[in-house]
Subunit: 351 residues, 3 copies
């Protein structure tokens, strides 16, 4: 974790760069890097708070706070009118978790432990929700592509987007309430000792850190979004590629690291929970929340992803469903998931 | 069941309305409502007959008679040249059964009994056939959409439609023969005591009622079809919506009620059999029969569904396959199926 | 096997026909028929050699030599610039194995033995690879169809095709190395006694026969390719149909025969291994090798299959995945696979 502390230096660097009006694409890169340690800090602070609150509230906190970076990037993206970027970052986050994070975890875990087994029922409810999220991607796009009544297209898309966003949030909240009442967390939560968590910070300390890190992530997100156009122009990175590959990696570094470490300690269950759960929260909570906010803001964001994004997400979901179906994982399956992600990265770069 | 008897009043009402030349959309609504109790009556009478004939012939009867309303609506739709409506009602019936009927059954059953389990092998053969039916939807549409030889398109679609219709019927009849010979019914049939059937009518009484109800359903179907255009114009209901959502609900009320009741009595097996079996019979028997009749009538109906219909049906099949894969169901899965159906209803309304 | 020896007569017949400059479509037919016994001979000779080399090297040989006819037809097709035909023959070989060969095997096996069971884990690794191969079909096509940046389309397709070809070959070689080291063959290999192999030829005899048969297959493939245009014109067979249905059947006769015989002897495991393994080798080894060769030759063949071919292959993979999911097969599943193949044959004929 020490090397991550060094990355905190990029926070002041990005501010200085912005203040001195330096090259926009340079500021973009520093803001990108600065988000990484902040995302890890938010994750750490939330876990520390969870130790004090007990696992129920802790689970709720983890579910809510884990996606703060994605949420702020989405929010400022909406404000800046970068709707394609916001949607791409949602799709990319789902896809990155179930193909890249899972793939590397299974591959690394498989190299160390050969075949790894996990409890199928744990992953199942998250996967069910993820399948529904997949439908939320397919229906509006299919509606648009097969439309033959242009007069009603926009109205239809708005109604469909709002219905889907509301249904997703209702199911998400039903699931959370259900897990708080029933003790049994639907939205994954591993036993706390799996993580070998120890209270290293006091509660006020942890809350303070969480607040500061969240605030800084918001600022860096705004900075990043304001320089996206420069990055597209100067770094020759397509906007779609930034949205679907780069942004999700920034926000998910904490999840990436944990998932791989857990797989190498032969706790592939936790890797699966982290990756699938994280995808699911983006799809069931962050994305519909942003849709609702966009309607409230008056720039409605409809759920119409790029066709190729939908294909990437569906491919990822089907492939990971197939991999998990037998409750066993081995290195070859990890390699397949990872390579598939690489192929999609190449393809998105040339879009 | 008593409240259904009141609906029988809509039969004379629809006749009076038609005779007095009242508002067409009003007659449409009365004809729609009149079909509901008739469909239930046909279902009841068939079950009563099955008690006298024994379970073999009874299974055959159930399979054949259960879809009389769908068949007549399809037949008169063909005669009236409403090909899109006929296809939509087939797709809607498949989709409604595997998403709405199943979803509500699983949800209600899950609320009462938490997790419910069923014998996977029972549902499997019906699902196999349903998968084949899905292919019968995909191939002709894909053939049309990817066509680059317009000269051979119509001929190709006709040959493909006829081949598929014949193959579907051959497999259906093979399956029926197989189950009559082997005692083991491939096309679902639950033990008679599951339904707690008692002979409440004599055999001639039951046969008479079946004949009368079928005759009345035919008349109401013809009336309904003749007023569809008025309903589209006056009630602002798109024809596609009538075909894919309203018509299937009318014909399936009996199945809906039974499936939900069975789920709440913790007999989710029977709910699955009813819903999946009913979908399968539409796809394997009613639809191909209508195709063959349409060719005989000289207005060939090709198997080219609307792309969005195909997406809806495939989504329903994949989602229900996923739900049933582990032989367990719980309320969340029911909610997912039901909500997905709702999303599609909204989308079809705006098509 | 004796009747196959008679087909060897078509080898000289095709040469004589070519020498005497007879009707081109006649030479095409004789070359097609001549490939059948040669493919069987290559398969026999490889098995004989495997008896001497032991099962490790034997498995490697079988994997490499089994697709010699497909490879040569592909190679000469590339040289002649018949890119669509080459791609169609790859897609057709995958599709034919997992729908037709498997379907007929399961159907015949099911008629004799009712339900047949097999070890799910054996088929699983091949299926994993086949799923990845499916992705290799989908990504480039989806990239092309959703492209909105024509300037980068060709470059993108070339990079994606090369990346996919390299990744497929890397995974294939990793799998082979893995199986040679670990004793446990990832790429199918049944126990030798399952085949009841006996050394009927000496090693030099078998190697000699293999060399001669491969050489003759190369010549007949070249002849066949040179007469394809005449066959399209005179026999009214669409080029796509020749590529996707006829060519794969010629090269796979040996696999077809073995798979069906094994199923009827209640060794459905071996049928599954032959069919799925053969599909997988085409997808993971022959196709990417031909792509790399085409780039080396300077006429780059990109992985862009016809949309309808992709739909056929994906349908086949999903259907066979579903059939194998429970580790049991019965005649109805075989009938479904076979009939689906027939429907696609009809459709490809009318494309």
């Amino acid at each position: 974790m020490k090397y991550l502390a060094i990355l905190l230096l990029f926070i002041p660097l990005s501010f200085i760069g912005d203040y001195l009006d330096m090259d926009d694409s340079l500021i973009f890169v520093t803001a990108c890097i600065a988000i990484v340690p902040l995302a890890v800090l938010i994750s750490d602070a939330t876990e520390q708070i969870a130790i004090y609150t007990g696992s129920k509230i802790g689970g709720l906190l983890n579910a809510t706070m884990g996606n703060i970076p994605e949420f702020f990037i989405g929010l400022f993206g909406l404000q800046a009118g970068l709707h394609q970027l916001v949607l791409a970052s949602m799709a990319g986050s789902i896809m990155g978790n179930i193909m890249f994070v899972l793939g590397v975890s299974i591959f690394c875990g498989g190299l160390v432990h050969s075949t790894q087994t996990f409890d199928k029922t744990i992953a199942r409810s998250n996967f069910s929700l993820l399948c529904f999220a997949a439908i939320s991607l397919i229906v509006p796009l299919a509606f648009k592509l097969t439309n033959d009544n242009p007069a009603k297209l926009d109205q239809g898309l708005a109604v469909i987007s709002l219905s889907i966003a509301l249904i997703l949030l209702v199911i998400y909240v039903m699931g959370l309430v259900f897990s708080l009442i029933m003790q049994k967390n639907l939205f994954l939560e591993h036993d706390s000792d799996d993580y070998e968590k120890r209270a290293k910070w006091s509660l006020p300390h942890a809350i303070g850190l969480l607040a500061i890190a969240s605030f800084l992530v918001a600022i860096e997100s705004e900075l990043l979004i304001s320089k996206v156009e420069a990055a597209v122009r100067d770094l020759q990175l397509p906007e779609l590629f930034i949205g679907i590959i780069i942004v999700p990696i920034l926000g998910n570094v904490a999840e990436h690291t944990s998932a791989i470490l857990m797989a190498m300690r032969n706790k592939i269950d936790i890797s699966v929970e982290i990756a699938v759960g994280s995808s699911m929260q983006i799809a069931m909570f962050v994305a519909p929340l942003l849709i609702l906010i966009s309607f409230a803001m008056g720039h409605p964001l409809t759920y119409v992803y790029e066709p190729f994004e939908v294909i990437a997400v569906i491919t990822g979901i089907l492939l990971s469903l197939y991999v998990f179906q037998d409750g066993k994982t081995y290195w070859l399956e990890g390699a397949l998931l990872t390579f598939t992600y690489v192929v999609f990265c190449v393809a998105f770069f040339y879009k």
